[in-house]
């Protein structure tokens, strides 16, 4: 009798836990409409115009993987997404979506209404890359032609991922964007995307940064400024430093490839005065010397390092000045850093952080180390 009771108990627990196992159901992979990317535009009457790129697999042997875009409208995001069933018949499968593109208009009105559904739904994932369309509509970017792969969203995804060795656009996924949006002492940023004409084709082109005030788009930074921004945010993994093109100490154009870079931000509180110390330590190698000047010996190398340090310092200082004067938005996360390091001081200034940020003094110290000169030890010299 006791045994029966125990068996019944175990069975009850097992059966009831089946219903507690979350969201799942049996579906065959070939029945899924796999969403590769999504673009959100403003439609008529304040509706959303949602365009999804769906992966299309045709033919079993020698199968061809292509994509098609479906556009639908709705009062809310989810409404628009569900209206898609009436167009294609298949339920969209969101877990493998790579990019979400928001048009400038939507972003300017505030992104919360758009991304709330994306964060809330169980099938969508927070590792999707977010993009803000600068010129063209989001749909145009998703329907543009791709150079390498058939599926545009995957191309865009690759483009964002490989920004690591270019550093002209920030790499921001939904999770990071949400965090920045909600966190205090930091303003959200997102990479910007444009259409560029090449050989008669319109190709997507990721460069620059979109700046948000709370959840509303307020402006864009260009690619070069973005690189400096990434320097300050200590996210530099690669990219180039160009010397000798803007009349610096060095007259020969030189390309320096960034190996690694470390930025330390240290708030210094002195009474009521807050200052930020920015320490940038970058290791580079010489990858290109467009002239006979010798940078290999100690003297030349020191000169080049010195020049690179000065250029970097000037550019970073000017970017901070520009942001302070034009936007008064703490996209660098100085406030968040202060909150980490000195909570009391942050509590004092947090209510008026924007004003404090505007007048914040930032001391920039840059250090550039040249490690090697790649495969050549000497500058190429002309033959006698």
């Amino acid at each position: 009798m006791n045994k029966i009771k125990i068996t019944l108990l175990i069975l009850t627990i097992l059966i009831s836990s089946i219903f507690a196992a979350g969201c799942w159901n049996y579906r065959e992979v070939d029945k899924l409409a796999i969403v590769a990317g999504v673009a959100v535009d403003k439609g008529i009457n304040g509706q959303y115009k949602v365009t999804v790129e769906v992966v299309q697999i045709s033919g079993a042997k020698d199968s061809k993987i292509t994509s098609k875009t479906i556009t639908m409208e709705g009062k809310t995001m989810f409404d628009a997404v569900r209206n898609e069933i009436s167009l294609s018949g298949k339920k969209l499968y969101w877990s493998h979506a790579k990019v979400i593109i928001l048009s400038k208009e939507i972003a300017s009105e505030g992104v919360t209404r758009v991304i709330d559904w994306y964060n809330r739904d169980s099938e969508t994932r927070a590792d999707v890359h977010i993009l803000i369309s600068e010129g063209a509509s989001a749909k145009e970017i998703l329907s543009s032609q791709a150079t390498t792969e058939e599926i545009k969203s995957f191309v865009l995804d690759e483009m964002i991922k490989n920004q690591e060795s270019l550093s002209k656009a920030p790499i921001i996924d939904m999770l990071q964007f949400d965090n920045d949006l909600k966190a205090k002492g930091i303003s959200a940023i997102a990479p910007a995307v444009n259409l560029k004409q090449m050989d008669g084709k319109m190709l997507p082109h990721i460069m620059g940064t979109a700046i948000f005030k709370e959840d509303k788009l307020v402006g864009f930074l260009n690619g070069e400024d973005t690189k400096d921004l990434i320097f300050i945010k200590n996210k530099v993994k690669g990219g180039l430093l160009i010397e000798g093109t803007q009349g610096n100490d060095v007259s020969t154009p030189v390309s320096l490839e960034i190996f690694k870079s470390k930025t330390q931000v240290r708030p210094v509180v002195d009474g009521n005065n807050i200052e930020m110390n920015l320490n940038i330590d970058t290791t580079v190698n010489i990858d290109e010397i467009d002239g006979p000047e010798n940078f290999i010996d100690d003297e030349g190398r020191m000169k080049l390092e010195q020049s690179a340090e000065n250029t970097l310092k000037e550019r970073i200082e000017s970017l901070i000045m520009k942001i302070q004067s034009e936007y008064d938005l703490d996209i660098f996360g100085f406030g968040a850093k202060l909150r980490e390091d000195n909570t009391q001081e942050w509590n004092r200034v947090s209510s008026n952080w924007e004003e404090t940020f505007k007048n914040l003094k930032v001391n920039v110290i840059t250090k550039v180390h040249i490690r090697n000169s790649a495969m050549l030890s000497k500058p190429l010299e002309k033959g006698e």
Binding site: Y26, E28, V29, D30, V55, A60, I65
Partner: protein, 518 residues
């Protein structure tokens, strides 16, 4: 059902006892004619019984008779060592002796083993075993003269476990030869052999073999007790006994080990295990048997220990994956597509285009087909082997995919699982049963169902014991020396102690090497 059988049992044994008693009650007569008649009666309708009557050339009163079974004896030896001396020698001097039979035994018969016997039961069983019975007029006793010589298979490398490096001899069907193979490896009087006849009708000889001072008495007496409880009519192979004495009788996992290799049995005896030889079976049983022994190949101990460790890890890994891979694949592909990398999802999706059979059904189907092919491969006569290969690979693999009956990943998973199953032949039955069990769970509930069934499997393994020793012992313990011979095969110089529990009585296997101890 079992209770019913128990109720009937006493009745059966009663019958059997009556049979035995009717022989035992009769004793030998002093008249040789009567005695011959008696044996003729016992071996009625057995035409292989040969009765040869003769007398000494000098002493007519010495009427003799030998009785043996044709085909079981060495006739040449009987002619040379019994008939010739008894017929030819001059027995007239010994007539004075009041015990001629004793004199014959002492002086005339040339044989290494002659026993004076009075019990008719033993005489009968000796004749059956191939000995010759010698009767003499005027005596109610008889001589049993050893003359066994039946045909046995020569010692050869066992097909079930071949090695590249290591001894190439294997057990045969003859118990005495098998014992000699082990005896030759362990030359020590502490190696004990205890015979016991099992099988009410077959009287199969079995032999418990152990090393005194290493084997635990508790396990030994438990084994003897379990063997004593067997009341089956016949033992044809050691598999009968294996099943009759095993712990967890409903489990597909074996808790009694078996091996065809003398080196394996010798090594297990040295670890403190107990071996059971069964006449007529080249498979010798060992107890206690733990799960790790499934993964220990004899070659591990003869090869380089790093290589051996690698091989053992492969065996352990495939043992787990051969059970889990189909279920995991199914649950990820049909329930948790978000867990797949995007390119993989796309290629799996592409391969499933136009396939009408659901993934779960096609997995069950293909695994069933593989099992059919495997069974055909073991059962069919070898000349037809090629046909099975062609049918298996071409028709069922390639053609099924091309005809869009199943998708290519399913075929790959099936092939992978099937090959992995064959690595661990020791528990192939359990693998197949639990693989389908997990697959069933996964097809209904995805990863959740998979883990639910996997936990059942794990708890089951944890609950089994083999002769008092936990079955999963050494798998779960890596402390001290217990893990030395489980997942890895430690170098010989570090294995100074025997496996615990099994060899608790005398743990020290070797003294630590100088300079190596720490």
């Amino acid at each position: 059902m079992f209770r019913k059988i128990k109720k009937i049992e006493p009745g059966i044994s009663k019958n059997r006892n009556e049979n035995n008693n009717c022989i035992r009650t009769i004793n030998l007569n002093k008249s040789i004619v009567n005695n011959i008649l008696l044996f003729k009666n016992i071996f009625k309708d057995d035409d292989t019984l040969i009765i040869r009557e003769f007398e000494n050339k000098c002493l007519k009163s010495a009427q003799c008779c030998i009785i043996y079974l044709d085909g079981m004896v060495n006739t040449e030896s009987i002619n040379m060592n019994i008939l010739q001396p008894v017929l030819g020698s001059d027995l007239s001097n010994d007539i004075a002796s009041d015990n001629l039979l004793e004199e014959l035994k002492k002086k005339v018969i040339v044989s290494n083993n002659v026993i004076l016997e009075t019990e008719i039961n033993k005489m009968v069983s000796s004749i059956i075993l191939g000995d010759t019975l010698f009767l003499l007029e005027g005596y109610d006793k008889a001589l049993i003269i050893s003359s066994k010589n039946w045909k046995t298979r020569p010692i050869s490398e066992p097909d079930s476990s071949r090695v590249v490096r290591g001894p190439r001899e294997g057990f045969t069907e003859s118990i005495m030869e098998n014992l000699s193979l082990v005896r030759r490896k362990i030359r020590n009087p502490d190696l004990k052999f205890k015979f016991k006849e099992i099988g009410e009708r077959t009287h199969t000889r079995t032999c418990i073999c152990y090393i005194e001072g290493l084997a635990l008495e508790g396990i030994l007496s438990e084994l003897e007790q379990r063997l004593g409880e067997i009341t089956i009519d016949g033992i044809i192979d050691s598999g009968y006994i294996q099943e009759l004495i095993k712990d967890a009788p409903y489990s597909p996992f074996e808790t009694v080990g078996s091996s065809e290799r003398p080196d394996v049995i010798a090594a297990k005896l040295l670890e403190g295990r107990i071996a059971l030889f069964v006449d007529g079976s080249p498979f010798v049983l060992t107890v206690p048997y733990l799960v790790v022994e499934n993964f220990q190949a004899s070659e591990d101990y003869y090869n380089n220990y790093i290589f051996a460790t690698m091989n053992r890890l492969i065996r352990g890994f495939t043992a787990v994956t051969s059970i889990t891979i189909p279920a995991l694949f199914l649950s990820v592909v049909t329930y948790h597509q978000e867990m797949l990398p995007t390119p993989l999802l796309l290629s799996i999706s592409a391969s499933r285009q136009g396939v009408p059979v659901p993934t779960s059904v096609s997995l069950f189907l293909m695994l069933f087909v593989f099992d059919v092919l495997r069974e055909v491969g073991t059962r069919m006569p070898s000349p037809i082997g090629q046909a099975v290969n062609i049918v298996g690979t071409l028709v069922l693999g390639q053609a099924a995919v091309e005809a869009r009956l199943v998708s290519a990943p399913v075929v790959i998973i099936t092939a992978l699982t099937g090959i992995e199953t064959l690595i661990n032949m020791n528990f192939i039955g359990a693998t197949i049963i639990f693989r389908n069990f997990l697959l069933l769970g996964a097809s209904f509930l995805g990863v959740y169902g998979f883990f639910m069934c996997f936990i059942v499997l794990y708890l089951h393994l944890m609950s089994i014991r083999s002769f008092g020793v936990p079955y999963m012992m050494s798998v779960t313990k890596a402390k001290n020396h217990e893990g030395q011979d489980a997942w890895i095969r430690a170098p010989w110089w570090t294995m100074t102690l025997r496996p615990k529990i099994v060899g608790t009585k005398n743990l020290v296997r070797q003294s630590p090497r100088k300079g190596k101890e720490n």
